[in-house]
């Protein structure tokens, strides 16, 4: 375990170096924006809409006293989506989708000697392959999470009006009640930290693959599991630090 931490930090010290060529780095970055960000939009959208809808229905279902106004449904959905569901759950989903992709892509390059080829050419492979993925994830994930928040709230509204559990005006009024802008800052800080965890941990497991196809598959699984565990741990740490 300690050895793995050591290898991770040595790898990161090679990742966070000045790129060999800025134009190549920019090109890689654009590719990663597309493959890690744009290609994740579909799954983020679907999950967010359904997550918001379920959250709204569950909240409405649990309000069984007339003393609690129905605006609470909108309020609770917003708080749940902004504070926890979008940044954490979507990051966990991305750990599965993006994390496995990063680990298997880099792992395959390792097992087919493409990383050795980069090294022989005089390129810093860790920097060339992993840095654009980390930077792209840290920049694009806040956009994905912002979209997820909007779609989650929209999903909640859609569920309310289609089931008739809550009036549209009540839901919207709830959404606008007692809004603390810091909750958005909190969500974005979590998102950026989780994006770093997903890309760097997956990059690490891919980069350190030894062997063939089976080992690449195993590295990919480890990347998803470890990223998910770290996200959950850092979720607690960040919540404690930022909200108390």
């Amino acid at each position: 375990m300690l050895k793995q931490f050591g290898i991770y930090f040595i790898l990161m010290s090679n990742v966070f170096r000045r790129p060999d060529k800025w134009s190549a780095f920019r090109k890689q970055l654009m590719t990663e924006f597309y493959s890690l960000g744009v290609e994740s939009l579909g799954i983020v959208a679907i999950i967010s809409v359904f997550m918001g809808a379920v959250l709204a229905i569950q909240t409405a279902f649990n309000i069984d006293t007339p003393l609690v106004p129905m605006t609470m449904v909108g309020f609770t959905t917003r708080q749940g989506i902004v504070l926890e569901f979008s940044p954490t759950i979507i990051s966990l989903i991305l750990a599965g989708k993006v994390g496995s992709r990063i680990a298997s892509e880099i792992g395959t390059m390792r097992s087919t000697e493409q990383i050795d080829a980069l090294e022989i050419m005089g390129v810093n492979p860790a920097n060339f392959l992993i840095l654009p993925k980390i930077i792209a994830s840290m920049l694009i994930n806040p956009f994905l999470i912002t979209i997820s928040i909007f779609l989650g709230l929209f999903g909640g509204w859609l569920a309310c009006i289609t089931t008739g559990l809550v009036a549209s005006e009540d839901y919207i009024s709830g959404l606008r009640s007692w809004f603390n802008p810091f909750s958005i800052t909190y969500a974005m800080i979590k998102t950026v930290v989780f994006a770093y965890i997903i890309s760097s941990v997956s990059g690490f497991f891919g980069y350190t693959v030894k062997g063939g196809a089976l080992d690449v598959g195993s590295a990919s699984t480890k990347a998803v599991v470890q990223s998910s565990i770290l996200i959950i741990i850092f979720n607690l740490i960040l919540t404690q630090l930022l909200l108390t």
Binding site: D20, A117, I120, G122
Partner: protein, 248 residues
């Protein structure tokens, strides 16, 4: 010229290289041969710096590679080209982009100059008009030729080929061998080829080094190898039924 002096390398308790001292001359195709597990690949990886030798020194034309700073190593590596066993082409890039990659990273060539160099390299390996193909569309022989084109795109002084004939039919193997020899002589470079293919040895082996159980067992030329008075080498050279019959 590349010189390896007293190279030792071990993994845990397994001593893979034991006191290897050898020099590889410029303008010649230097072959390292030996059975699987004899340490050929480890020696080549030590030479190019993919593995650090436990002990010993590696010199490139008098420049001590093993003791260089990472910056100097990086500069020297731009003088190296390597052909990997499986080609190691970047599978998300086309043939043209693969060959252009080192030029893009380390030269200030204009787009036109880069393309000219790519076309020259492709022509050199007899693969004209393959620019837009993807690695997945190439045959084994084509992959090796594109990998050679990429390896020579930066006009290297040192060319390393790890099992260039593995997985190829005898005819294509011969073509790859001829290509390596031609390039070595035309560009006056130091070429080191790692192989256990006896056809290659007899075809292009200007200088041959035989490794056995991590030790340098024999050195000589392709002419000398057939009559070498060395039991292990003779067993290796005449291991197949065909070579045994030819000897008789």
């Amino acid at each position: 010229m590349i010189e390896a002096k007293h190279i030792y390398k071990s993994f845990a308790d397994n001593d893979v290289l034991k006191d290897i001292s050898i020099s590889f001359e410029k303008g010649k195709t230097n072959l390292i041969i030996g059975k699987s597990g004899s340490g050929k690949t480890v020696l080549m990886k030590c030479l190019v710096g993919l593995l650090d030798a436990d002990k010993g020194e590696i010199d490139y034309d008098g420049r001590v590679f093993s003791g260089m700073s990472p910056r100097d190593k990086k500069r020297l590596r731009q003088e190296m080209g390597m052909l990997f066993q499986g080609g190691a082409l970047f599978d998300y890039m086309s043939v043209e982009e693969n060959i252009m990659f080192p030029l893009m990273m380390f030269t200030k060539f204009s787009s036109g100059e880069k393309l000219d160099r790519v076309n020259f390299c492709l022509e050199r390996v007899n693969l004209k008009k393959a620019n837009k193909l993807m690695p997945s569309e190439l045959s084994g022989g084509m992959t090796k030729r594109v990998a050679i084109a990429r390896a020579i795109s930066m006009k290297p002084k040192y060319l390393f080929c790890d099992e260039p004939n593995s997985g190829l039919d005898p005819q294509t193997s011969g073509l790859i061998d001829d290509l390596i020899k031609e390039i070595t002589e035309d560009l006056e470079i130091t070429t080191i080829v790692n192989t256990h293919d006896m056809n290659s040895v007899l075809n292009i082996g200007d200088a041959v080094a035989y490794l056995h159980e991590g030790k340098l067992w024999w050195t000589g030329t392709k002419e000398e190898i057939m009559d070498a008075d060395n039991k292990e080498l003779q067993e290796f050279v005449f291991a197949t039924e065909l070579t045994k019959r030819l000897k008789k």
